[in-house]
Protein backbone atom coordinates (compact mmCIF):
# COMPACT_ATOMS: atom_id res chain seq x y z
CA UNK A 1 0.00 0.00 0.00
CA UNK A 2 2.78 2.42 0.89
CA UNK A 3 4.08 1.90 -2.63
CA UNK A 4 0.87 2.61 -4.51
CA UNK A 5 1.08 6.40 -4.52
CA UNK A 6 4.79 6.60 -5.43
CA UNK A 7 4.22 4.09 -8.23
CA UNK A 8 1.25 6.08 -9.47
CA UNK A 9 3.42 9.19 -9.57
CA UNK A 10 6.13 7.30 -11.46
CA UNK A 11 3.57 6.01 -13.94
CA UNK A 12 2.06 9.45 -14.54
CA UNK A 13 5.40 11.24 -14.83
CA UNK A 14 6.78 8.57 -17.18
CA UNK A 15 3.75 8.55 -19.47
CA UNK A 16 3.65 12.35 -19.60
CA UNK A 17 7.31 12.50 -20.58
CA UNK A 18 6.77 9.96 -23.36
CA UNK A 19 3.64 11.65 -24.71
CA UNK A 20 5.35 15.02 -24.56
CA UNK A 21 7.79 13.76 -27.15
CA UNK A 22 5.04 12.87 -29.61
CA UNK A 23 2.29 15.40 -28.86
CA UNK A 24 3.00 19.10 -29.13
CA UNK A 25 -0.49 19.97 -27.88
CA UNK A 26 -1.31 21.16 -24.37
CA UNK A 27 -1.35 20.06 -21.62
CA UNK A 28 1.48 17.66 -22.49
CA UNK A 29 3.80 20.42 -23.59
CA UNK A 30 3.34 22.33 -20.36
CA UNK A 31 3.58 19.26 -18.14
CA UNK A 32 6.53 17.79 -19.98
CA UNK A 33 8.59 20.95 -19.83
CA UNK A 34 7.70 21.60 -16.23
CA UNK A 35 8.33 18.06 -15.03
CA UNK A 36 11.90 18.22 -16.28
CA UNK A 37 12.44 21.48 -14.47
CA UNK A 38 10.76 20.15 -11.34
CA UNK A 39 12.98 17.13 -11.39
CA UNK A 40 16.02 19.40 -11.58
CA UNK A 41 14.83 21.46 -8.63
CA UNK A 42 14.11 18.39 -6.49
CA UNK A 43 17.46 16.81 -7.31
CA UNK A 44 19.25 20.10 -6.59
CA UNK A 45 17.44 20.54 -3.30
CA UNK A 46 18.37 16.99 -2.35
CA UNK A 47 22.06 17.91 -2.32
CA UNK A 48 21.52 19.11 1.25
CA UNK A 49 20.75 15.50 2.20
CA UNK A 50 24.10 14.53 0.75
CA UNK A 51 26.17 17.15 2.48
CA UNK A 52 24.42 16.45 5.77
CA UNK A 53 25.40 12.83 5.34
CA UNK A 54 28.97 13.85 4.52
CA UNK A 55 29.18 16.02 7.63
CA UNK A 56 27.57 13.29 9.73
CA UNK A 57 30.00 10.63 8.54
CA UNK A 58 33.02 12.78 9.29
CA UNK A 59 31.90 14.15 12.66
CA UNK A 60 31.10 10.58 13.67
CA UNK A 61 34.58 9.54 12.56
CA UNK A 62 36.11 12.24 14.72
CA UNK A 63 33.86 11.46 17.69
CA UNK A 64 34.57 7.74 17.62
CA UNK A 65 38.19 8.30 16.63
CA UNK A 66 37.82 5.83 13.74
CA UNK A 67 40.69 5.03 11.40
CA UNK A 68 42.10 8.13 9.68
CA UNK A 69 39.83 10.39 11.71
CA UNK A 70 42.52 13.05 11.71
CA UNK A 71 41.76 13.84 8.10
CA UNK A 72 38.06 14.32 8.67
CA UNK A 73 38.42 17.93 9.86
CA UNK A 74 40.05 18.67 6.49
CA UNK A 75 36.88 17.64 4.69
CA UNK A 76 34.65 19.55 7.08
CA UNK A 77 36.74 22.71 6.91
CA UNK A 78 37.11 22.43 3.14
CA UNK A 79 33.36 22.20 2.82
CA UNK A 80 32.65 25.06 5.18
CA UNK A 81 35.20 27.34 3.54
CA UNK A 82 33.61 26.88 0.12
CA UNK A 83 30.07 27.03 1.46
CA UNK A 84 30.55 30.17 3.55
CA UNK A 85 32.59 32.10 0.95
CA UNK A 86 29.97 31.11 -1.61
CA UNK A 87 27.13 32.40 0.55
CA UNK A 88 28.92 35.64 1.39
CA UNK A 89 30.59 36.54 -1.89
CA UNK A 90 28.55 34.64 -4.46
CA UNK A 91 30.09 33.18 -7.58
CA UNK A 92 31.31 36.46 -9.09
CA UNK A 93 34.72 36.26 -10.70
CA UNK A 94 37.83 37.17 -8.69
CA UNK A 95 36.05 37.03 -5.36
CA UNK A 96 37.13 34.44 -2.74
CA UNK A 97 34.74 31.66 -3.81
CA UNK A 98 35.79 31.91 -7.43
CA UNK A 99 39.45 32.26 -6.40
CA UNK A 100 39.32 29.08 -4.34
CA UNK A 101 37.55 27.26 -7.15
CA UNK A 102 39.98 28.38 -9.84
CA UNK A 103 43.12 27.78 -7.78
CA UNK A 104 42.20 24.68 -5.82
CA UNK A 105 39.09 22.78 -6.91
CA UNK A 106 39.71 23.11 -10.64
CA UNK A 107 43.42 22.12 -10.48
CA UNK A 108 42.54 19.13 -8.30
CA UNK A 109 39.94 18.04 -10.85
CA UNK A 110 42.38 18.48 -13.71
CA UNK A 111 45.04 16.52 -11.82
CA UNK A 112 42.73 13.59 -11.07
CA UNK A 113 41.66 13.62 -14.70
CA UNK A 114 45.28 13.58 -15.86
CA UNK A 115 46.01 10.47 -13.77
CA UNK A 116 44.37 8.72 -16.72
CA UNK A 117 47.52 9.27 -18.78
CA UNK A 118 49.34 6.95 -16.35
CA UNK A 119 46.50 4.51 -15.97
CA UNK A 120 45.96 4.00 -19.71
CA UNK A 121 49.62 3.07 -19.89
CA UNK A 122 49.54 0.57 -17.02
CA UNK A 123 46.23 -0.90 -18.18
CA UNK A 124 47.57 -1.28 -21.73
CA UNK A 125 50.74 -2.96 -20.49
CA UNK A 126 48.87 -5.46 -18.39
CA UNK A 127 45.78 -6.15 -20.49
CA UNK A 128 47.14 -6.21 -24.02
CA UNK A 129 48.65 -9.69 -24.06
CA UNK A 130 48.13 -11.98 -27.02
CA UNK A 131 46.77 -14.76 -24.81
CA UNK A 132 44.14 -15.91 -27.32
CA UNK A 133 43.15 -14.83 -30.78
CA UNK A 134 40.44 -12.47 -29.61
CA UNK A 135 42.81 -10.74 -27.21
CA UNK A 136 45.30 -10.62 -30.06
CA UNK A 137 42.79 -8.75 -32.20
CA UNK A 138 42.11 -6.29 -29.39
CA UNK A 139 45.83 -5.76 -28.97
CA UNK A 140 46.55 -5.44 -32.69
CA UNK A 141 43.81 -2.94 -33.31
CA UNK A 142 44.86 -0.83 -30.31
CA UNK A 143 48.49 -0.98 -31.40
CA UNK A 144 47.74 0.00 -35.00
CA UNK A 145 45.60 2.94 -33.94
CA UNK A 146 48.28 4.14 -31.53
CA UNK A 147 50.88 3.89 -34.28
CA UNK A 148 48.61 5.79 -36.64
CA UNK A 149 48.17 8.57 -34.11
CA UNK A 150 51.82 9.58 -34.03
CA UNK A 151 54.35 10.43 -36.75
CA UNK A 152 56.34 7.27 -36.24
CA UNK A 153 53.50 5.26 -37.75
CA UNK A 154 53.66 7.09 -41.05
CA UNK A 155 57.47 6.83 -40.94
CA UNK A 156 57.26 3.05 -40.72
CA UNK A 157 54.68 2.73 -43.47
CA UNK A 158 52.55 5.49 -44.92
CA UNK A 159 49.47 3.25 -44.96
CA UNK A 160 49.38 2.96 -41.17
CA UNK A 161 47.47 6.23 -40.64
CA UNK A 162 44.97 4.92 -43.17
CA UNK A 163 44.62 1.71 -41.21
CA UNK A 164 43.86 3.83 -38.16
CA UNK A 165 41.14 5.73 -40.02
CA UNK A 166 39.69 2.45 -41.29
CA UNK A 167 39.65 0.84 -37.86
CA UNK A 168 38.01 3.90 -36.36
CA UNK A 169 35.40 4.33 -39.08
CA UNK A 170 34.47 0.70 -39.85
CA UNK A 171 34.91 -1.87 -37.05
CA UNK A 172 34.73 0.81 -34.35
CA UNK A 173 31.51 2.25 -35.75
CA UNK A 174 30.05 -1.25 -36.20
CA UNK A 175 30.90 -2.20 -32.61
CA UNK A 176 29.57 1.04 -31.16
CA UNK A 177 26.36 0.73 -33.13
CA UNK A 178 25.72 -2.81 -31.96
CA UNK A 179 26.31 -1.74 -28.35
CA UNK A 180 24.10 1.32 -28.74
CA UNK A 181 21.18 -0.48 -30.39
CA UNK A 182 21.33 -3.27 -27.83
CA UNK A 183 21.55 -0.82 -24.95
CA UNK A 184 18.57 1.09 -26.29
CA UNK A 185 16.49 -2.11 -26.10
CA UNK A 186 17.64 -2.54 -22.51
CA UNK A 187 16.71 1.05 -21.72
CA UNK A 188 13.25 0.73 -23.26
CA UNK A 189 12.54 -2.45 -21.39
CA UNK A 190 13.92 -1.17 -18.08
CA UNK A 191 11.93 2.05 -18.44
CA UNK A 192 8.76 0.09 -19.13
CA UNK A 193 9.36 -2.03 -16.04
CA UNK A 194 9.75 1.14 -13.99
CA UNK A 195 6.78 2.99 -15.45
CA UNK A 196 4.43 0.04 -15.10
CA UNK A 197 5.69 -0.79 -11.63
CA UNK A 198 6.84 -4.27 -12.60
CA UNK A 199 10.21 -3.65 -10.97
CA UNK A 200 9.77 -1.92 -7.64
CA UNK A 201 12.74 -2.95 -5.54
CA UNK A 202 14.26 0.52 -6.05
CA UNK A 203 11.52 1.90 -3.81
CA UNK A 204 12.59 -0.49 -1.13
CA UNK A 205 9.63 -2.70 -1.87
CA UNK A 206 9.39 -6.44 -2.31
CA UNK A 207 9.26 -7.57 -5.92
Amino acid sequence: MRLIIPLAITFTAGIVMILNFFIPHQPFRFLGENLQEWYMIVASGAIFLGVMNLMHVHTRKIRLKLKNWKYSPVTIIGFLVMFVTGLIYGVTENLPFDYLFMNMVAPMGATMFSLLAFFVASAAFRAFRASNWRATLLLTSAFLVMLGQVPIGAMLWDKIPLAKVWLMSIPNVAGQRAVMIGAAMGVVSTSLRMIFGIERSWLGGAD
Binding site: I47, L54, P107, A110, S114, S141, A183
Partner: protein, 217 residues
Protein backbone atom coordinates in the same frame (compact mmCIF):
# COMPACT_ATOMS: atom_id res chain seq x y z
CA UNK B 1 51.38 38.81 -0.46
CA UNK B 2 50.74 38.37 -4.13
CA UNK B 3 47.38 36.63 -4.63
CA UNK B 4 48.25 35.36 -8.06
CA UNK B 5 51.43 33.64 -6.90
CA UNK B 6 49.63 32.24 -3.88
CA UNK B 7 47.02 30.82 -6.25
CA UNK B 8 49.71 29.16 -8.37
CA UNK B 9 51.30 27.69 -5.25
CA UNK B 10 48.02 26.36 -3.91
CA UNK B 11 47.29 24.79 -7.27
CA UNK B 12 50.79 23.34 -7.55
CA UNK B 13 50.76 21.88 -4.04
CA UNK B 14 47.43 20.11 -4.38
CA UNK B 15 48.54 18.89 -7.81
CA UNK B 16 51.71 17.36 -6.37
CA UNK B 17 49.84 15.94 -3.37
CA UNK B 18 47.37 14.16 -5.63
CA UNK B 19 50.13 12.88 -7.92
CA UNK B 20 51.83 11.33 -4.88
CA UNK B 21 49.04 8.73 -5.00
CA UNK B 22 50.78 7.19 -8.00
CA UNK B 23 53.55 6.07 -5.68
CA UNK B 24 51.20 4.84 -2.99
CA UNK B 25 48.63 6.05 -0.48
CA UNK B 26 50.27 8.57 1.87
CA UNK B 27 49.37 11.44 4.21
CA UNK B 28 49.73 14.03 1.45
CA UNK B 29 47.26 12.25 -0.75
CA UNK B 30 44.91 11.67 2.18
CA UNK B 31 45.01 15.36 2.95
CA UNK B 32 44.38 16.45 -0.65
CA UNK B 33 41.69 13.83 -1.16
CA UNK B 34 39.78 14.87 1.95
CA UNK B 35 40.18 18.51 1.01
CA UNK B 36 39.00 17.85 -2.54
CA UNK B 37 35.90 15.96 -1.40
CA UNK B 38 34.99 18.68 1.09
CA UNK B 39 35.68 21.66 -1.13
CA UNK B 40 34.01 20.22 -4.19
CA UNK B 41 30.93 19.25 -2.15
CA UNK B 42 30.79 22.87 -0.95
CA UNK B 43 31.25 24.08 -4.48
CA UNK B 44 28.36 21.98 -5.79
CA UNK B 45 26.00 23.09 -3.05
CA UNK B 46 26.64 26.73 -3.95
CA UNK B 47 26.47 25.85 -7.63
CA UNK B 48 23.06 24.23 -7.16
CA UNK B 49 21.76 27.19 -5.18
CA UNK B 50 23.06 29.79 -7.61
CA UNK B 51 22.36 28.00 -10.87
CA UNK B 52 19.23 25.98 -10.20
CA UNK B 53 17.40 26.81 -7.01
CA UNK B 54 17.48 30.60 -7.37
CA UNK B 55 16.96 31.07 -11.12
CA UNK B 56 14.84 28.02 -11.92
CA UNK B 57 12.77 27.87 -8.79
CA UNK B 58 12.76 30.94 -6.58
CA UNK B 59 12.67 33.48 -9.39
CA UNK B 60 9.97 31.52 -11.17
CA UNK B 61 7.87 31.36 -8.03
CA UNK B 62 8.37 35.04 -7.22
CA UNK B 63 8.78 36.69 -10.64
CA UNK B 64 10.61 39.98 -10.83
CA UNK B 65 7.53 42.08 -11.39
CA UNK B 66 6.11 40.87 -8.10
CA UNK B 67 3.39 38.30 -7.61
CA UNK B 68 3.47 34.63 -6.86
CA UNK B 69 3.23 31.64 -9.17
CA UNK B 70 1.74 28.75 -7.20
CA UNK B 71 2.79 26.11 -9.76
CA UNK B 72 6.31 26.34 -8.39
CA UNK B 73 5.11 25.27 -4.99
CA UNK B 74 4.85 21.73 -6.40
CA UNK B 75 8.59 21.15 -6.92
CA UNK B 76 9.19 22.93 -3.61
CA UNK B 77 6.94 20.42 -1.86
CA UNK B 78 8.58 17.49 -3.62
CA UNK B 79 11.98 18.80 -2.56
CA UNK B 80 10.75 19.05 1.04
CA UNK B 81 9.47 15.47 0.84
CA UNK B 82 12.93 14.45 -0.25
CA UNK B 83 14.52 16.26 2.68
CA UNK B 84 11.95 14.65 5.00
CA UNK B 85 14.24 11.61 4.97
CA UNK B 86 16.20 13.26 7.73
CA UNK B 87 13.57 12.28 10.28
CA UNK B 88 12.70 8.58 10.43
CA UNK B 89 9.01 9.32 10.96
CA UNK B 90 8.60 11.27 7.73
CA UNK B 91 11.18 9.36 5.71
CA UNK B 92 8.43 7.56 3.80
CA UNK B 93 7.42 10.82 2.12
CA UNK B 94 10.63 10.79 0.12
CA UNK B 95 9.24 7.89 -1.87
CA UNK B 96 6.83 10.31 -3.51
CA UNK B 97 9.72 12.44 -4.74
CA UNK B 98 11.68 9.38 -5.81
CA UNK B 99 8.65 8.22 -7.75
CA UNK B 100 8.60 11.51 -9.60
CA UNK B 101 12.34 11.52 -10.31
CA UNK B 102 12.39 7.94 -11.58
CA UNK B 103 9.24 8.46 -13.64
CA UNK B 104 10.66 11.53 -15.38
CA UNK B 105 13.98 9.78 -15.93
CA UNK B 106 12.41 6.60 -17.27
CA UNK B 107 10.09 8.41 -19.67
CA UNK B 108 12.74 10.79 -20.91
CA UNK B 109 15.43 8.14 -21.32
CA UNK B 110 13.12 5.76 -23.09
CA UNK B 111 12.36 8.13 -25.95
CA UNK B 112 15.80 9.70 -26.21
CA UNK B 113 17.71 6.40 -26.17
CA UNK B 114 15.25 4.91 -28.62
CA UNK B 115 15.69 7.83 -30.97
CA UNK B 116 19.43 8.42 -30.87
CA UNK B 117 20.75 5.02 -29.88
CA UNK B 118 18.42 2.77 -31.81
CA UNK B 119 16.63 4.44 -34.73
CA UNK B 120 19.43 6.81 -35.77
CA UNK B 121 21.95 3.97 -35.70
CA UNK B 122 19.68 1.65 -37.66
CA UNK B 123 19.15 4.41 -40.21
CA UNK B 124 22.89 4.89 -40.54
CA UNK B 125 23.28 1.20 -41.31
CA UNK B 126 20.71 1.07 -44.13
CA UNK B 127 22.76 1.88 -47.21
CA UNK B 128 23.90 0.30 -50.45
CA UNK B 129 27.05 -1.77 -50.05
CA UNK B 130 27.67 -1.80 -53.80
CA UNK B 131 29.34 1.60 -54.14
CA UNK B 132 33.02 2.29 -54.66
CA UNK B 133 35.82 -0.16 -55.28
CA UNK B 134 36.44 -3.63 -53.93
CA UNK B 135 37.88 -2.24 -50.71
CA UNK B 136 34.86 0.03 -50.13
CA UNK B 137 32.48 -2.88 -50.69
CA UNK B 138 34.45 -4.97 -48.25
CA UNK B 139 34.38 -2.17 -45.68
CA UNK B 140 30.64 -1.70 -46.07
CA UNK B 141 30.10 -5.43 -45.61
CA UNK B 142 32.23 -5.46 -42.46
CA UNK B 143 30.15 -2.61 -41.09
CA UNK B 144 26.80 -4.28 -41.76
CA UNK B 145 27.91 -7.74 -40.68
CA UNK B 146 29.50 -6.22 -37.60
CA UNK B 147 26.31 -4.48 -36.49
CA UNK B 148 24.06 -7.48 -37.14
CA UNK B 149 26.36 -10.08 -35.57
CA UNK B 150 27.02 -7.74 -32.65
CA UNK B 151 23.30 -7.67 -32.02
CA UNK B 152 23.19 -11.47 -32.18
CA UNK B 153 25.80 -11.53 -29.40
CA UNK B 154 23.35 -9.64 -27.20
CA UNK B 155 20.60 -12.27 -27.61
CA UNK B 156 19.75 -13.56 -24.15
CA UNK B 157 16.93 -16.01 -24.63
CA UNK B 158 18.77 -18.39 -26.97
CA UNK B 159 21.83 -20.46 -26.17
CA UNK B 160 24.84 -19.36 -28.18
CA UNK B 161 25.36 -22.65 -29.99
CA UNK B 162 25.37 -23.72 -33.64
CA UNK B 163 24.93 -20.98 -36.22
CA UNK B 164 23.76 -18.61 -33.49
CA UNK B 165 26.96 -19.20 -31.56
CA UNK B 166 29.11 -18.70 -34.65
CA UNK B 167 27.43 -15.41 -35.49
CA UNK B 168 27.69 -14.24 -31.88
CA UNK B 169 31.39 -15.10 -32.06
CA UNK B 170 31.81 -12.88 -35.10
CA UNK B 171 29.95 -10.20 -33.17
CA UNK B 172 32.14 -10.32 -30.08
CA UNK B 173 35.22 -10.38 -32.29
CA UNK B 174 34.21 -7.16 -34.00
CA UNK B 175 33.39 -5.67 -30.61
CA UNK B 176 36.91 -6.50 -29.45
CA UNK B 177 38.49 -4.86 -32.50
CA UNK B 178 36.29 -1.83 -31.84
CA UNK B 179 37.28 -1.65 -28.18
CA UNK B 180 40.95 -1.92 -29.03
CA UNK B 181 40.72 0.86 -31.59
CA UNK B 182 38.76 3.09 -29.24
CA UNK B 183 41.27 2.50 -26.43
CA UNK B 184 44.26 3.27 -28.63
CA UNK B 185 42.61 6.38 -29.99
CA UNK B 186 41.78 7.84 -26.57
CA UNK B 187 45.35 7.66 -25.28
CA UNK B 188 46.22 10.88 -27.10
CA UNK B 189 43.48 12.87 -25.41
CA UNK B 190 44.52 11.51 -21.99
CA UNK B 191 48.14 12.43 -22.57
CA UNK B 192 47.06 15.95 -23.51
CA UNK B 193 45.69 16.33 -19.98
CA UNK B 194 48.98 15.29 -18.46
CA UNK B 195 50.83 17.63 -20.80
CA UNK B 196 48.55 20.42 -19.60
CA UNK B 197 49.31 19.73 -15.94
CA UNK B 198 53.04 19.39 -16.66
CA UNK B 199 53.05 22.72 -18.43
CA UNK B 200 51.34 24.28 -15.43
CA UNK B 201 53.99 22.92 -13.08
CA UNK B 202 56.97 23.58 -15.35
CA UNK B 203 56.00 26.88 -16.92
CA UNK B 204 53.77 28.57 -14.32
CA UNK B 205 54.89 27.24 -10.98
CA UNK B 206 58.64 26.53 -11.16
CA UNK B 207 59.50 30.03 -12.45
CA UNK B 208 57.92 31.50 -9.30
CA UNK B 209 60.39 29.68 -7.04
CA UNK B 210 63.44 31.88 -7.81
CA UNK B 211 61.23 34.94 -7.58
CA UNK B 212 60.09 33.97 -4.12
CA UNK B 213 63.65 33.34 -3.04
CA UNK B 214 64.60 36.74 -4.31
CA UNK B 215 66.79 35.44 -7.12
CA UNK B 216 66.34 36.76 -10.64
CA UNK B 217 63.33 38.81 -11.64
Amino acid sequence: MNWEILGIWLGALVTLFLYSFLYRDNPFYKFAEHLFVGMSAGYWVIYNIENVLIPNWWQNMFPEGGGFDWVWLIPGIFALFMLARIWPKTAGLSRLSLGMIVGVGAGLNMVSFFQTNALAQVKGTIFSVASGGVWDIFSSLVLVVGVVSGLVYFFFSKAHTGIMGKTANVGITILMVAFGASFGYTIMARLSLLIGRSQFLLEDWIPTIPRLLGIGG
